[in-house]
Amino acid sequence: MSTATDHPTTAASLQQYLTEKRATGSRLLMPYITAGVCPDWLELVDAVIDAGADALEIGIPFSDPAIDGTTIQEATVVALDAGMTPARALSELQQRQFGVPLIAMTHYNLVYRYGHERFASDLVAAGGLGTILPDLPMEHAHDWRAAADAAGIENVLLAAPVTTDERLAQVVEQTKGFVYVVSTMGTTGARDGVDDAASVLSRRVKAVTDIPAIVGFGISNGETAVTAAKESDGVIVASALMRRILDGATVEEAAALIAEIRQALDAAYPPA
């Protein structure tokens, strides 16, 4: 469980933080929350941290979420209708202290439009240590990376089952924080099972780098999390959590999913 003493902004980079957590032997658990998905979304952030999250992805809603499946799309519409904007998300986060690193996940246009330097410094102020911008491939990431580096923000790159060995070598060279292992060829969304592809890709990533490899897309419960974490360093839980909120669950009920996954992971891969 997190306490104020492991507040990452004083301690570490995202990558260092995750690497140290991993060294305890436990698997990393990283829930995703769309900013503004419910009026009390900041309470949800607190609740999932209390439930055992090691780090948190904060989704900033974009009008055209081409990489997202139906659940995140729905969360996006709810958040946008509630007036969520990048500036508002960052300033609301800034009003609180969280014991774990925050990572902003969004489509690149919002960062581009906000201004690279300004986004980087506002993200730092909000407690952010990293970004995930799935539609900003490394070929086009130069300007954002320069601004992020200067501010101490780590930009996480993704690897997919179709990523070639040659490209994977570039991904692990250029990613920071961790490698986002896309479990399946599809959009974000909870699934009943996790593809074999996830294990294969996790093994490929771990064979070429020591940077933490964390699996996302399709983790819906303890069982899928345990499977996905077998060959990797941890899991990201997004749609399954957002689904609960969209279906009217309270913050506590939604956070119970994260507690369940934490338990399952710790049972299967006990921390030292």
Partner: protein, 395 residues
């Protein structure tokens, strides 16, 4: 890696290695789609360098698509407007619009890549119909994504696609129009890249699509340039086309881009005018001008014509706009409706509502065009629109 497959004119040459025309374009897609885009790029470069492919393409355009399309001199309307009006008749192509050029090119390419299935997005339904047609011809299966709103506006085209054996899936997100259909098609492509080719319908999306789609449409400009010379002994003063994503305009412009005396004009719907906006956006795999709010959320376009109901335009057009080689002007739905009727009455040609935008600009700009030769790309025929126009006029 990227070598220009065509002796492209300088003003509209190949993009750079990363797919940029100046500062616009690129390949802003998630890692799962990277490989698929590279595969299309490699296949396109290889195919376009192959004389046999070029011959097969031309053969199918001519014997199936109905090319070359004629250029028509509009005597009556010319007299009325005080200028010399010529129409490049893409409306006479098989399936009723310019869209078939690109689709036949991509379908041949998909076959060559060993794909068995094509998916497409569509606005007015013209690109969907063309894709369904090519799929039927080449024995491929076909799924078309179409905004739910557009499915209602263009019911007849939905039926046409189904008649041709395609599956039509409504895009239910966002504004339920063209931009949402693009999102849906891109999402579907991710999970089906193995056997499926995404047949994108305009000069937009991730590299190499803007370049490839323009290349397949260059035949419009190439033919028109010769035909105008045959008819008038010279070049037109202005070449005009409507712009949604901008494919018919890009095909026409490519024929004249290096003729400095020829003005290139794109007509955009007032409710979807994107060119020349100060800040580009990154969406649908490209960096280009888009209508967006102050934080970067993409706005919904609003136009009488489903085919132009798109808040952005292709990256090469953004480049042409920024470098001022081409000019882009908005026209209103009212002006379009008037031109739709005007061309029907004076020339016996019922234009697509999209193409009527180009006529509307000519009518609007007629004072400055007095005595000039004006070439308009008649990108499609109006059969699909008559019911909608009837409802509006009799309201």
């Amino acid at each position: 890696m990227t070598t220009a497959p065509v002796a492209s004119p300088n003003q509209m040459g190949a993009p750079d290695e990363l797919g940029f025309f100046g500062e616009f374009g690129g390949r802003y897609v998630g890692e799962p789609l990277m490989g698929a885009c590279q595969e299309v790029e490699t296949a396109f470069i290889d195919a376009w360098a192959d004389t046999q492919f070029r011959q097969d393409f031309l053969h199918i355009l001519n014997t199936y698509g109905g090319r070359p399309s004629p250029t028509t001199e509009c005597g009556n309307l010319s007299e009325q407007l005080g200028l010399r009006l010529l129409l490049k008749r893409e409306d006479l192509n098989h399936t009723g619009s310019h869209k078939i050029n690109n689709v036949l090119g991509q379908a041949l390419l998909a076959k060559r890549m060993g794909k068995t299935r094509m998916i497409a997005e569509t606005g007015a339904g013209q690109h969907g119909v063309a894709t369904a047609t090519a799929a039927a011809l080449l024995g491929m299966s076909c799924t078309v994504y179409m905004g739910e709103v557009d499915m209602k506006r263009q019911e007849l085209n939905v039926f046409r696609m189904r008649l041709l054996g395609a599956e039509v899936i409504p895009a239910m997100s966002g504004s339920r129009t063209l931009k949402d259909a693009v999102n849906e098609a891109m999402r579907a492509w991710v999970s089906e890249v193995g056997d499926t080719h995404y047949c994108l319908g305009s000069v937009m999306g991730p590299h190499p699509y803007p370049w490839m789609v323009r290349t397949f449409h260059e035949i419009i400009g190439t033919e028109a340039r010769q035909q105008v010379q045959d008819l008038t002994g010279g070049l037109p003063d202005v070449a005009v086309a409507c712009v949604g994503g901008g494919s018919n305009a890009a095909g026409l412009f490519a024929g004249f881009a290096d003729d400095e005396s020829v003005r290139l004009v794109g007509a955009e719907p007032a409710g979807g005018a994107a060119a020349g906006r100060g800040v580009p956006a990154i969406v649908h795999g490209m960096k280009s001008y888009f209508m967006q709010d102050e934080v970067g959320q993409i706005l919904e376009a609003e136009s009488i014509s489903a085919g132009l109901d798109y808040p952005g335009l292709g990256p090469e057009h953004s480049h042409l706009a920024l470098t001022k080689r081409a000019e882009y002007y908005p026209v209103t739905d009212e002006e379009v409706l008037e031109s739709f009727q005007l061309l029907s009455r004076t020339e016996g040609i019922i234009p697509a509502l999209e193409s009527a935008h180009a006529i509307a600009w000519v009518v609007k700009a007629k004072e400055e065009l007095q005595g000039q030769t004006v070439l308009v790309n008649m990108s499609g025929r109006g059969d699909k629109d008559v019911q909608q126009v009837q409802e509006i006029l009799e309201r």
